[in-house]
Amino acid sequence: MEMDSPPLAGEQDPHPRRYGRGVFLATVAGGLSSLFWGKAAWDHVTGFVSPVASAVAPILPTGGWRIYTISGHMPVFDPATWRLKIGGLVEEPTSLTYEQLRALPRVEQVSDFHCVTGWSVKNVHWAGVRMHDVLAQARPQSSGHALEFISMEQPYIDYLTLPQASLRDVMLAYEMDGKPLKQEHGAPVRLVIPEMYGYKNVKWLEQINVVQKTTAGYWENLGYDRDAWVGRSNGYGT
């Protein structure tokens, strides 16, 4: 086994300067402390120094997005068969084709998207329709106080109270950054509620039911907060 002992350095320094240990400890300490300042620093760099932000964004291969799925296959949008069904506590259950959805009053907005795991995408340009325009034809009954959003990706489901769903910038988006919503972002239409974390922004929507009250959605069954206010839920800002 003598072949296995490491070759000696051949330098005998009586007072070795252990800078390597210093580099190691400083890097570990800096990295661990960044858990408390990393996001603020990153937001500062990308949010306020706009030349830096516009230079960095195209370099990042992701555009800042990360794609979350819960099943093995991403739902495929077929315009011929897809319908947005509106049911539950309504006077007149309805179903909209993609064309009919696009024919509703169109709105656009620019808002930030925040994931509960810590990443954010700033200034996303959405186009779509407001909730009241979608619900108008079905005429919700007065006993309904919440909405149930059902995704084509089963068993993904989530809920909003009617006041939450009526916030000024809540929409069903069918375009993102000037293009029809891509498959990985929830084509043909997804819920957008910028005040809440991404898991409330249900992708691949196919059904909205008016219900009496909210219950736990997919991630809420796994311990996440039902009211997912950005910066004020799920252990943040409390």
Partner: protein
């Protein structure tokens, strides 16, 4: 002549194998185009996590196996003399078995391993318990990946492409290097 012992090489290649495995599975989680190809995020996430646990466990096992022999190597890597400092100021200075750049690379690689491990565990347990959730964990984990890729690119260039240094690959695979190459690049290194 012999440059790297068996346990030193084992540590290097266990680390390299783990890094590439975690890079591949991590990129599937990170890049939308790859996420779309593979889908099954939950499964990939589990593979990535348990791969990371296995990687840290394997590194720990090699370190225990290496014992005092690896401790001697660590001493060698962390010590900087006047020639090392001159070398870092881009002056010609005779180097030992490791040059100053290799010493810094080793210190950073070790630190990144710790930070990858801590931030990865926090990401995993943070999904289940808000006490482990920090808004900056994902930024640290991603940032480490970007800096590691830069270091890796330089490392691969020097080990595989750059004509003056690529002979060192033989030291890390077979264990030995040519005596005249060692005399030129590591003049102060005098093995017994």
């Amino acid at each position: 002549m012999r440059r790297f012992s068996r346990v030193e090489r084992l540590l290097h290649w266990v680390n390299a194998l783990g890094f590439f495995f975690l890079l591949a599975t991590g990129l599937i989680l990170y890049l939308p185009s790859l996420s779309m190809l593979v889908s099954r995020r939950q499964t990939v996430q589990s593979i990535h996590f348990w791969g990371g646990v296995g990687w840290l466990g394997a590194l720990a096992a090699v370190i225990v196996l290496g014992g005092r022999r690896l401790l001697t190597t660590a001493r060698e890597l962390e010590s900087f003399d006047d020639d090392d400092l001159s070398w870092l100021r881009r002056r010609r200075a005779p180097q030992g078995r490791f040059n100053a750049g290799q010493k810094i690379n080793a210190a950073l690689t070790a630190a990144f391993t710790v930070l990858f491990g801590v931030s990865g565990l926090l990401l995993w347990f943070g999904e289940q318990d808000t006490r482990y959730r920090f808004a900056s964990t994902v930024i640290l984990h991603d940032g480490l990946m970007y800096v590691s890729l830069l270091l890796l690119a330089g490392h691969l260039y020097l080990a595989l492409i750059h004509p003056a240094t690529r002979h060192s690959l033989r030291g890390m695979t077979l264990g030995d290097v040519r005596t005249e190459w060692a005399a030129q690049h590591h003049a102060k290194w005098k093995p017994q």
